[in-house]
Every structure is written in C-alpha cells, then in structure tokens.
C-alpha cells in the first residue's frame, strides 16, 4: 500500500516538473490578449484597446475584489494572456503575490496604481507601507491610469500605437467632460452637507477630489467587521451633524448600514438610506452603470439627490 502511494507521488512529481518546463506560450489569435482584474480596470482596458485587443476581466460585476473566487476559465485567461493589468495597492489580495511571481518570470503584468505618485495616494493610518486602493474614485488619478494603460499597450503592440493613443485622447476628453458635469452636480450640495457615510472605506479619494468628508462603517478590508462602538460613534455623529442620508454599496451586504440607521433612530433622529453606490465593482455589463463613467454619474446623482 505504502509503495503504491509513494509510486503515485513520485510519478506525479516527475510528470508535473517535466510538464512545466515551457511556460509562456503565445496566444494563437493574432490580437493581443489582455486580462484585467477588476471591472474598473477592465473598463479602461476596453476603452483604450478597443477592437484591436482581445480582453477578459477576471472579476464580474458586483464581485467584491477582496472576496473574489476564481473560476476554472480564469486559469486559461491568465495563462493565455500577453498583458495583465491589475489595480494594485493590495486590492487584489494574495493574487498580487502571484502576479509578482509571474512578472519575475517575464510575464507582462502591471498594477495601474504604479503610475500614481505616492503623494497623491491616501495612506492608511496605521501602516505606512499600505495605501487606500480605491484610486478610481478620483477622476484625475484614473486619467493617469488611462495613460499608463495606453503606454503599456503601445509598448507591447507598437503596430497599433496610433490607435491606442487616439483612443486615449478620446477617452480622457470624455472623462474631462464627465468631470465638469459632475462638478456642477456636486455644486448643488452645500459645503456643510458634504458628509458621505458608506458601508466601507471606499470613498476617500472621492472625498478628497470633491470636498466631502468621508466615513466608512467598515475598514478598507470588507473582511473586518464593524465594531459596536463604530456604529454608536457614527450614529452620534449623524445626529450631531444632522446628516440626511447614508449609503449602501453594491458589493457589500446592506445589513450593517441598516443597523446604523436603527441606531440613529433610537436617538430620535431620522436618517434615510440614500441609495446604492457602486464601490468596488461596476454594474451589469451593457447598462450605463456597467461603464466607469456611467457608474460615476450614478454615484454622484444618488449622493447629490440624497444630500442636497
């Protein structure tokens, strides 16, 4: 019996190690294969790569990147990819370590957050080495990410450089006009009412860009639980500042925010749930919210409507 198991194990080893000698085979399709992790990064890649690339996203809509589970087809997507883009700043958890390894073996893998100067990143209070990863909520930072992706695509596919750069131009000017519209929308909210309370700490960059004070009920990692004291403190703050609305998020369960609403109610103040914001993932593909710009509009409209 022992011999049989031992034999099986050795056989497995030999086969496995002879098998993995030649990694990094080229994709058979003539187009460059690009893989993106989150829906936000994938949206950028699609906008810039257009129809000259074949792109795949790993995480689906409504999927919390912290809790993403791979499906079998992700294996093929990763192994057949020519270029991989991910958000970075630990948003993708342990996947980043895997990417680091693949990168060291010559795979073209880029965290879009790399292009952003550390001064523009929101640091995490306790550990200097960690930054808030939700950079897409600052349109200016996300434009830099767009440039970054266009540069990398051009580098690996120089034939289509002109195409990528013209897409980039088109898209950044679209982002500019979106930004303008959003600014005028946000002007409807009085300065003293710009307090945004959400399910988890995803909107720091948004707050920085548009002058909101941002409070998340949960920490950055959605795996941590909201403490009782957090709920109580927040409830006190809502009552004190007479905040009209708090917000749920598409990729975070709503019960914590509902608990907060109850806590406020018990203090004799009424706070409504202002609506659902997209935080860590875009909406369903094909809808407006399935695009970065549409998602941003949805969020801002929801916030403005509830707080003005």
């Amino acid at each position: 019996m022992m011999k049989r198991i031992a034999l099986l194990a050795t056989l497995g080893f030999i086969l496995a190690f002879t098998a993995c000698k030649n990694t990094g085979q080229k994709s058979d399709d003539a187009k460059m294969h690009v893989v993106a992790t989150t829906t936000m990064v994938h949206d950028l890649v699609k906008n810039i790569g257009g129809d000259r690339i074949k792109s795949d996203g790993l995480m689906g809509p409504g999927v919390d990147p912290h809790l993403y589970r791979a499906s079998e087809s992700d294996v093929g997507k990763l192994s057949n990819s020519d270029v991989i883009f991910y958000n970075g700043l630990h948003l993708e958890g342990k996947l980043v370590d895997v990417f680091d390894k693949m990168n060291r073996l010559g795979k073209n893998i880029y965290p879009v957050a790399d292009t952003i100067n550390e001064n523009n990143l929101v640091p995490s209070a306790d550990y200097a080495s960690s930054y808030d990863p939700h950079i897409w909520f600052d349109i200016n930072l996300w434009k830099k990410a767009a440039h970054f992706i266009a540069d990398k695509l051009s580098r690996h596919d120089p034939e289509n450089q002109v195409y990528y750069q013209s897409n980039l131009k088109k898209y950044t000017s679209e982002m500019d006009s979106v930004q303008k519209e959003i600014n005028s929308l946000i002007d409807q909210v009085p300065k003293d009412k710009r307090i945004l309370i959400t399910a988890h700490d995803a909107f720091n960059y948004f707050g920085q860009a548009f002058g909101f004070e941002v409070v998340g009920l949960q920490g950055i990692s959605t795996a941590s639980e909201a403490g009782v004291k957090d709920v109580q403190n927040l409830a006190d703050m809502i009552v004190k500042n007479e905040i009209g609305a708090i917000f749920i998020e598409s990729s975070v369960p709503r019960r914590n925010i509902e608990a907060l609403q109850e806590a406020v109610k018990s203090r004799g103040f009424e706070v409504k749930i202002g609506g659902e914001l997209y935080s860590d993932a875009l909406g369903t593909p094909g809808t407006e919210e399935g695009k970065y710009t549409g998602m941003f509009f949805h969020n801002v409209k929801t916030i403005v409507k509830a707080l003005k």
Partner: protein, 391 residues
C-alpha cells in the same frame, strides 16, 4: 490540456493524499472537526506575524499560522484533559476564541490594512500553477506542488516509521501506554502533522477543500472497510478521484475548482453512504428486513412444532389462524407462509399447515441453539438451511 491545467490536477491529487493520511486518523479518533478548527484558528497567528514583520507576503506569517494550528490542538487537549467537557465541545471552545482574537486584533490595530487569511494564504487552486517556485530566476514548478509534495513525503515517512504506534494508540490507547510508548507523544505528533498539512493545503487549495479532503474520503472509506491499511488507501483513492472529476466538472461548468471538488466529494460520500456493501444505509435496511422476516418464520415454525399433529388441536395449524395468533397483518402472514413454503419448511394442505421433515430438523437445531444462547450458530444455521434468503 494546457500545462497549468495539468499542474492544478497534480497539486489537487497530492493535496488529496496528503490530507487523507492525517484525516483517516482524525476520523478514527473522532476528532474530525479539529481540521476545521485549525483552518479558522490560524488567523491570529497570521495577524501577529504581520505585526512583527509588517509585511503580508512574508513566509514568517505562514510559520506563525502553522504554530497557531498546533496551539489550537494543545489548548483543545488541555481542556479535554480536565474531563469537564467533551472533545467536540473543547474544539468548539478553542477555535472561536482564537479566531475572534484574530478578528479583534485586525479591527483594533489594522482596520485599514488588507490583512486576513486570504491576504497571506492564496487558497485558490486556479492560481496555484502561476505561483511558481523561482530559483535563480528559473521557474521550478508551482510552489504548492513542492510544499505539499514535501509535506506528503514527510507524512508518508512518519506513517511508515510509526505505523504500529499510530494504529495501537488510535484503537487502544491503554494498550499503547502499557506497551511503553506514550499515546500523548503520538497524539501531538499526529496533530502537529495535521496542522502543518492544513496550513500548507490551505495555501494550495483553500479552507473548505482542506476540511473536505481531510474528513470526507476517510469517512467514506470507513464505511467500506474495517482495516486501517485499506482505509488509508481507499481514502487516498477517493480523494484523488474527487480531485480529477471535480476539476473537469469545474472546467465544463466554468465554476470554482475547489468548490467543484468539494461538491464531488460530498456526492461520492453520499453514494457510498447509501450503497456501501455492508455498512451502507440500503444494505443495513435490507438486512434488517431480512432478519425480521426470517425471525418471523422461525417463530411460526416453532409454533407449528408445538402444535404438531400428535399434539392435536388442528385449529392452531389453520392458515387463517396466523393473523389471530401472531397478530400479523394478512400481508405479513402471507409473506411468512410463502417464505416458509419456498424454503420447503412447510406443506399447506387444504388450509392446514404442517412442518416438513426439513422443517422439523430446522426447528430441532434452532431450539438447541436458542436454549444454549448461541446466536452466531443460529445465524450460520440459516445459511445452511435456507434455499432462499429473505429480501
């Protein structure tokens, strides 16, 4: 099949066997849930490791995880030793405590840093082939294949060396103690190995699949065999089968590989639970029904013998009398009669039942065994006399 696909299946196979070995002993020692406990209780180890290194990708965190796994076992053992609570309760006391310490530490000191078990242990088979071991810039194959391969080899060596000790201390701790090797040492050795395997496998395949691979194959094998040898082999075979089948089902349905493997494990267990030759639910039910019918026939034959022709009173031998005397339903009475007649135990003549010669010698022998209380002989006698067994 692409290379990563092959690699994933090999990793799964090796993890399956590596988990089956300690798993078989856990199941036999009735402490299967310790594997679940370990996979939860490693969180504080990871968090404390992070506080020390300030780096989520340090291998030190994995070591800390394994150490907390062992700590879990030690604490369970200490509580268990007091005899104030049962083993399963002790497990239930320890791991939520440790897990909650981890959660509290995160929320209190690292609320805005991405740290949880998934930040340290990959726990996703789909990524395992991309997490290569790199030496001098060359890929040497998936890291988890090496780690789990090493753990498996260590496990097999320890199993080979301490097989007798493990066996005796599992089945008869008192005998083990009297033979001069302390069951405590074996116990902690086994538990340390379990902890190391659990953490290594957690990194390779994820928490749920670790628990599934440690418990389900041995639990299923336990229904199929009573020998430790065969149970170990069978557990490994079941684990391997589920790993391969699970992978391909995940491939065709495009779902989580680990989830699919765990589901297949559950399915295999269900099949064995119902259809295992001796201990399966169906065979137990059938055996019970058979015994009931055979017992009814025996009572009936003994009754006939008491009221045989010489002892007169023909009423007792009427077919219609059966339902009154034994309070059987007419269906039951018919079943028993048919069964006895098919086995040539009785003759039915004009509504009157009579024992055949075979019926006489059958009851003769049966009475002897009943009077001397020899149940086993009674069973084996049925095998000799009955042409047809009840179904």
């Amino acid at each position: 099949m692409s290379i990563p696909q092959i690699e994933i299946q090999f990793i799964a196979i090796i993890v399956a066997v590596a988990c089956a070995i300690p798993g078989a002993f856990l199941v036999l020692r009735r402490m299967a849930m310790i594997s679940d406990a370990i996979s939860h209780a490693i969180l504080p180890g990871i968090v404390i490791g992070f506080f020390i290194t300030q780096d989520v990708s340090s291998p030190f965190l994995v070591l800390m995880a394994a150490a907390t796994g062992v700590l879990t076992v030690v604490l369970v053992e200490i509580i268990n030793r007091t005899r104030l609570v049962k083993e399963d309760a002790a497990i239930g006391l320890v791991f939520p405590a440790l897990f909650s310490i981890g959660v509290i530490l995160i929320t209190r000191f690292a609320g805005d840093v991405h740290i949880d078990t998934h930040a340290v242990l990959v726990g996703e088979l789909a990524f395992a082939p991309f997490n290569q071991l790199i030496i001098n810039g060359n890929p040497m194959g998936p890291k988890s294949l090496w780690v789990m391969g090493g753990i498996l080899v260590l496990s097999l060596v320890l199993l080979g060396v301490f097989y007798k000790e493990l066996k005796i201390s599992t089945f008869d701790p008192q005998l083990a103690a009297s033979l001069g090797f302390t069951p405590v040492v074996i116990h902690y050795g086994l538990m340390t190995m379990t902890s190391i395997t659990a953490v290594g496998a957690f990194d390779a395949v994820g928490a749920i699949l670790v628990v599934a691979l440690m418990i389900v194959p041995p639990a299923a094998a336990y229904l199929m065999t009573q020998s430790l040898n065969r149970m170990l082999v069978l557990s490994s075979v079941i684990g391997i089968a589920a790993a391969i089948a699970g992978y391909w089902i995940a491939h065709f349905l495009n779902v989580s590989i680990g989830g699919s493997m765990a589901a297949i494990l559950g399915f295999i267990f269900l099949l064995i639970y119902f259809f295992a030759p001796k201990r399966g639910v169906i065979s137990v039910l059938m055996r019970r029904k058979q015994q009931k019918l055979e017992f009814s026939m025996l009572t009936f034959l003994l009754h006939l013998r008491n009221h045989s022709i010489e002892n007169s009173n023909p009423e007792e031998r009427e077919v219609s009398h059966l339902t009154d005397h034994f309070q059987w339903t007419s269906k039951r009475a018919k079943e028993v009669l048919e069964f006895a007649e098919n086995n040539n135990m009785i003759r039915i003549d004009d509504g009157m039942v009579e024992l055949t010669d075979k019926g006489y010698s059958f009851t003769d022998e049966a009475m002897q065994y009943i009077l001397t209380d020899k149940k086993n002989e009674l069973e084996s006698m049925k095998g000799r006399f009955l042409l047809f067994r009840a179904e």
